[in-house]
Amino acid sequence: MDLLAQVSGNVNAIGYGLAAIGPGIGLGILIGKALEGMARQPEVTGVLRTNMFIGIALVEALALIGLVAGFIFT
């Protein structure tokens, strides 16, 4: 069977690109909602900011695991 099409080069880059879509959208939603909350009720900015950072850490971990997985699966 002849080869019809082929991807050459490192597929890890494609893997990371796909892995970054979800966390990108997630971070956008998270930070956007936190900003919205801070705009509606400025006196709880401190609480919202702390919880936003916790959320950012958890979501960004997924994108970073995607980055690292590319290096592990060589």
Partner: protein, 274 residues
């Protein structure tokens, strides 16, 4: 001006960056430089280990000299040290655990400043490598945090009570426990230290790779490429400068997040089941 600061560091740091003959983008071997002495032994330090030791030594020196003779009216160093400790106490512990978390202040201050100082070594001109960019230090710190929150949980609730609170959260229909308990077990006891480790290490590794890429690219484009590409070299220098500022932000942010999550886990282990 940034080129004058950073181009010599390319030479000094012995990176695989462009030194003539072509463009050498960074590879993973950046993070495995050879052992500087004691080659082949288990203790032989590489450049990265020595950077970690140096930054930890400087940090210890700072805190010891800041709090050596504390006066009621603080001197300058003592004021800086107090600002650091107050930041961790008011922004991290009080927000997340509350007043009863104050007994973890020594550990959390140490954790925050150790991570921050090791991270910031990634942008210092002659060091150029974060001590936390290889897996050892983040894994150790995450392991210690894991020990702390588990021991605190067992001390507060007893082993059976602690496991019951975490693995069998109340208010769930009985058959769902078959599905929920393994997920909770892995999420609490395995994923927490693993994600703490990987989050810190991957942030620092990615930041270092991007910085090396920008500086290698600017050195190559400005000095060795065809003249038509020189404006791209200027753009690469600008990106390197901007990204260095971003890396400083990420260094502080990752230290804050590591400490905040550790405090959160400790608070969760201490709190009553809801």
């Amino acid at each position: 001006m940034t080129l004058i600061t950073f181009a010599p560091t390319q030479v000094l740091a012995g990176l695989s960056a462009a030194e003539g003959n072509g463009f050498h983008p960074p590879t993973l071997s950046e993070f495995f430089p050879g052992q500087l002495f004691g080659a082949g032994t288990w203790w032989g330090p590489s450049r990265i280990n020595l950077i970690g030791l140096l930054m930890a030594g400087l940090l210890a020196l700072f805190f010891v000299s800041a709090f050596r003779k504390p006066g009621v009216v603080p001197g300058r160093l003592q004021m800086l040290g107090e600002m650091g400790v107050t930041f961790v106490r008011s922004q991290i512990i009080d927000e997340v655990i509350g007043k009863q978390g104050r007994r973890f202040l020594p550990y959390l201050v140490t954790l925050f400043f150790m991570v921050f100082v090791l991270n910031i070594a990634g942008v210092l001109p002659t060091l150029n490598m974060a001590g936390t960019a290889v897996i050892g230090v983040p894994m150790f710190l995450a392991g210690v945090s894991w020990l702390v929150f588990n021991v605190v949980g067992v001390q507060t609730h007893g082993l059976g009570g602690y496991l019951r609170n975490n693995l069998f959260p109340p208010g769930v229909p009985k058959p769902l426990y078959l599905l929920l308990t393994p997920i909770e077990a892995i999420s609490t006891f395995v994923l927490r230290p693993v994600t703490l480790t990987i989050r810190l290490m991957a942030n620092m590794m990615a930041g270092h790779l991007m910085l090396v890429l920008f500086f290698a690219a600017s050195s190559y484009l400005l000095f060795e490429a065809q003249p038509a590409l020189k404006p791209l070299g200027v753009a690469a220098v600008a990106m390197g400068f901007a990204f260095t500022l971003f890396e400083i932000l990420v260094a502080g942010l990752q230290a804050y997040i590591f400490t905040l999550l550790t405090a959160l886990y400790i608070g969760g282990a201490m709190s009553e089941a809801h």
